[in-house]
Each structure stands twice: as C-alpha cells, then as structure tokens.
C-alpha cells in the first residue's frame, strides 16, 4: 500500500517521462498535492501523447474523455426573472488548471494499473474549427466517449471511424452542453425559486 507521497512521486516521474518524449508539445503541468496531476499538451500532439502514454509509459487503462466549455453561461444559473431584462454577464473565458487559450478544451484521464498512477490530460481545441485528433486507434474504448463529446460540444474527432450521435435522436440540432445552448426547461418555465409576489390590489388603504 503506497502512501500519498509515494503516489505523488510516481506521478511526477510519469510526467517527467512524458515531457521527455513529447518535448515542446507538453505545454503546462499542474500538481495538486494529494489530489492529482494535470498535463496540457499542444493540439497537434494529442494523438502522439496518447500513443506515448499507452505504448511507452504503460498507461493502459482508459478512464474517460470529455470536454469543458470555458465560456461563462449567458443564462447565468437559469434563475433569471423573465419579466426583467437579462442582466449583464461577463463573457471572459477563464480556463482552469494548466491554463489554455481557447474556449473548448478536451479533457481525458488515463491510468496505469500496475503503478497506480493516473494522469489528467487537457488539450486546447481551436476556436475557428473545433477539431482534435481521435484517440480511437490508441484506446479502442475512446469510441463512445468521443461520440458523446462530439454530439454534446460539437468537437470533431479527426480519424474517428464512425462519428455519429450516441444519446440524442438523429435529427437533433445544436450541441446541448455548450454554454450558449440554453437549458430549455428553465426557458420554458421560469425557475420556481423566483419570489412570486402578487402586487397589492389598487386602493388598499395605507399601502401603495
């Protein structure tokens, strides 16, 4: 049973080896002690990073792959009062750990079962045409994860054998998990938490 310090060391060692293989393509790392290690790679090195991790560094276990949309939601938390004009909200894109320059980032996690080391990987997705290389030739299990990410965010995975919708019906338009795609339930019916006060009737004595 390894201690937290040991695991941190092993993760750091893995990151070092990854850096040695990828060189410049490893853009940033972040270590949260006791919690995990994040690594960001350059967009064109995404597939290479996967291959290095699986075949050279022994990260055989494919955990998951998804995306993050860093645009703050223009709908806030869906609690807007429909009778009032929508408030001004910041549209500044502030990415999280390991930074980033684009709105979308693809996030993946792979794991080394023998050494009990996990790595979280991020990669920027270009804003103009959201596309990244597909990991399916490296990890066969990425198939469904990439399909789901594509249908939810609109990020195309180049080289995916069969990129089509997973959850949503075929005719569905739009990419639901993008922040500018509204949560329809909150648009159709205003959030019940808004204080709903009946205006006082006209002519009540003493109130106006």
């Amino acid at each position: 049973m390894s201690s937290l310090a040991e695991l941190s060391e092993r993760r750091a060692a893995a990151v070092e080896r990854l850096g040695a293989e990828l060189g410049e393509a490893l853009v940033a790392t972040h270590e949260a002690p006791g919690r995990g290690t994040w690594v960001r790679v350059r967009t064109d090195a995404w597939r290479t990073a996967g291959e290095v991790l699986r075949h050279r560094l022994g990260f055989e276990y494919f955990d998951f792959l998804s995306a993050i949309d860093w645009l703050p939601s223009p709908y806030g938390r869906g609690e807007d009062d429909p009778t009032q004009p929508a408030p001004e909200r910041s549209t500044e894109i502030r990415p999280g750990y390991t930074g980033g320059e684009t709105r979308f980032q693809v996030l993946a996690r792979v794991f080394d079962v023998r050494n009990n080391v996990g790595l979280l990987l991020k990669v920027d997705v270009p804003d103009a045409e959201p596309a990244v290389a597909s990991w399916v030739p490296v990890y066969a299990g990425a198939n469904w994860h990439e399909r789901e990410t594509w249908e939810m965010f609109g990020i195309v995975f180049a080289g995916h054998p069969d990129l089509r919708k997973l959850y949503l019906p075929t005719g569905f338009e739009g990419f639901p998990l993008r922040k500018d795609y509204p949560l329809l339930a909150r648009l159709v019916k205003p959030w019940p938490g808004i204080v709903d006060v009946e205006p006082m009737p006209e002519g009540m004595a003493g109130e106006e």
Binding site: R35, G141, L183
Partner: protein
C-alpha cells in the same frame, strides 16, 4: 390442360405478391433483430441491434440514450447541495454510492475533511448500497438464464438491507444523506445491532446462491467460456469493477485510492478471477458481497464517536478549482470531475459512470455469439440504464 379464368390468374398473382412481401419483411436470411428498448431482459431501455445468421450474431451494437436525462447540463444550474439529490438517481439500486464521490470532490476543493465518525458511517452506507445493488444482480442473472426462483430470494433478502438504509437515512432508494462536510443525521438507536443481524442474513443468502446457481451444472454450462474479455481489451475499454477483476486485473479503488473513507481501517480482500468469462464475473460479485458484509461488520464494531458534520458555512461556496474523485461503486468505477468557479454551484461536472464504459465493450464481445449468449453476456456485464445514459 385446364383453362384458368382471368380472375383466378389475378388472385394467384396477388397471393404470390403477398407472399413475397411477407418474405422480404421477415428477412429470415441474415435477420436483423432488435433486442429492446422494451424487453424483459435489458435492465431498462437499452436497445441492441443484432444482425443474425441463424442463431449466431454477426454484429451487434448497443444504442443507448433512451433514458438520457441531461445530468451534466442540469448540474450547471444547481447549487452544490442540490446536486446531491440529482446525482442519487444515476445508479438507483445502490444510490448512496453515487453521492459520495461528488461530495468528496467538493470537500477536496473546499479543503475540508469530514469528521471520522462521518467518514465511518459514509463507508458503512456505501457498502450497504453495494450489497443492495449486487444482491439484485445475483438473483437477476438467474432470471436471465431461466432460473426463476433465486431472484425472489434476492428481493426478499435485499429488503432487509433497504430497511436498514431507510432507518438511517429516511429513503430506501434515494437516501440523499450525504452533505458537504459530513452527513445529514446521526444513526438511530439500535441500528448497529440490527445491521449485524442483517449482515448475517446476507451471508447466508450468499451461501444459498452459491449452492443454487454457482453449483448448478446448467448454469456452468451456460456461463463458462461465454463472453471472454481478455485483459488488454478490458483495460482499453475502461471496464471497471467486477468486470475488470474477473479478467484478472487486481485493481480495486477502495484499496488503491487514498480517500478520506474508512476502507483502510478494515481488513478485507480483493477478489479476482483469471477467466474473464460470464461465470467469473458472477463469481467475483458473489465473493464481493460476502466481503462487503464482512467490511460492514468490522465497521460496525469499530465505530468512533464524535460529531458527524464539520464546520461548514451555511451557504456553501466552493472555491475555484478542479477536482477528480472516483470510487469503487457497485457497478464499477464512478467518478466526478468537478470544475468550480467559486460560485454557489459547479461550473461543469463530468460524470464518469461505470456502465457507460462497461457496455461500450458489448459490440466487441458480442460478435460470433449465439442469441441466448447475448443475454447471458449482457446480464453478466451488469449495467443500469441510469448509469449508461445519465
């Protein structure tokens, strides 16, 4: 040579055309069979499209999404405590287990730890959720294979576990009991002794199942060598939980992850099986239920006293950051990637559910099997629709 009238000729042609239509529609050569979405075998609305050659499957593809509820979008409009209620309903058979990784992720971001008693009770309820969930699997696999009786025993003995969960949390199926910083309430009086009796019952149920199903020659003939998933495929597809351990990979997140829960305070064993077939998956789960009941017993004996809630502000605002926590849920590895921006609620939550990866291997493993084996393999992989579709 008889002369047939025009009318007879026309009716003859019409009947031939009708036959041809029926034949084309029935398509008995290379038949495409839809198993589901409404079907007694699939645990919910999962649709599997199979192309058959006689009784053999040429290709098969699972089509999920009939129960997609958009959880990840919903979490963006909820506060952190509200997400707990939402997340209960992903794996609805052992639903306390769904809350725990999310709460742990939030606590990691807030840099607080629940007090020892709360960690203890969390682990207790987590293991009870696992027992409730997997007991159903043990009986249900029998039904998929045609043995209709063990499932009733499974439901009966599961009731006792659910009663215990209800006594502690107030809800049989959706406890909604975990809070950031601890738990909602303490345990009721007498709960510990009752739980010990329930665990004895669970163990006798496991013995019964071992006799009834594992020892049955027909069960062995139906499951041995069926649906073998080798180690490399299992790792690539992200199979987790008992499916991975049945393929010989010795990996259990309860032992290998360092989380503020009480698993490392107990003495227990991780069960693996080298075969990787359906029998192995059933066998591993049976041993795991027994092991869980032993863990619960040990936890009941060593319960620390103390507060069950850490000092947490009334309105919870989780500081900015990202956290990933995964636990060994009954179905496999369930993890939450929580991105917070210092708000009342999360910015993005990615829910990594076990059944999603478990079922993605179906198109690989179902090729070349027979139709009855399709049912066996799916039953042994054990999925819950809420977990696949979120």
């Amino acid at each position: 040579m008889t002369m047939i009238s025009d009318r007879q000729q026309l009716s003859y042609i019409a009947s031939q055309a009708a036959d041809a239509r029926v034949n084309v529609e029935l398509e008995t050569e290379g038949m495409t069979l839809n198993i589901g979405p409404q079907h007694p075998a699939t645990h919910g609305t999962l649709r599997i499209v199979c192309r058959l050659d006689g009784e053999q499957v040429v290709w098969a593809e699972p089509i999920p999404g009939y129960m997609h509820r958009g959880y990840e979008k919903l979490t963006e409009v909820r506060t952190f405590p509200q997400v707990t209620t939402l997340v209960n309903r992903i794996d609805w058979l052992g639903s306390f287990c769904n809350e725990v990784p999310f709460i742990l992720a939030a606590e990691q971001l807030m840099d607080i730890e629940a007090p020892p008693r709360a960690q203890h009770i969390r682990t207790l309820l987590f293991e009870m959720g696992r027992i409730a969930n997997v007991i159903l699997f043990l009986g249900d696999m029998g039904v998929q294979l045609g043995a209709v009786t063990p499932v009733f025993f499974a439901f009966r003995d599961r009731e006792f576990v659910l009663n215990q969960i209800e006594a502690a949390t107030g809800g049989r199926f959706h406890p909604n009991f975990d809070r950031i910083g601890g738990l909602k309430d303490d345990l009721p009086k007498g709960w510990i002794d009752e739980s010990r009796a329930v665990m004895r019952r669970v163990r006798s149920f496991c013995d019964e199942m071992e006799d009834l199903l594992l020892g049955n020659e027909i069960f062995e003939a139906r499951t041995r060598g069926i649906g073998v998933i080798p180690r490399e495929i299992a790792l690539q597809y992200g199979l987790s939980g008992a499916n991975l351990r049945a393929s010989g990979v010795d990996w259990d997140l309860r032992r290998d992850q360092k989380l503020p829960m009480a698993w490392d305070k107990c003495d227990w064993k991780v069960w693996t099986h080298p075969d990787g077939d359906s029998f192995a998956r059933y066998w591993v789960r049976l041993q795991e239920v027994r092991e869980s009941s032993k863990i619960v017993d040990q936890l009941l004996d060593t319960m620390p006293s103390g507060p069950i809630m850490a000092k947490v502000p009334r309105i919870i605002k989780v500081p900015e950051g990202e956290a990933w926590v995964a636990t060994e849920n009954p179905l496999g590895e369930m993890g939450y990637y929580v991105v917070s921006k210092g708000d009342l609620g999360p910015f993005r939550v990615k829910i990594r559910s076990a059944s999603f990866s478990n079922i993605s291997v179906a198109s690989w493993v179902l090729r070349g099997t027979y139709v009855p084996d399709v049912i066996t393999i799916l039953a042994s992989l054990y999925f819950i629709l809420g977990d696949i579709d979120r």
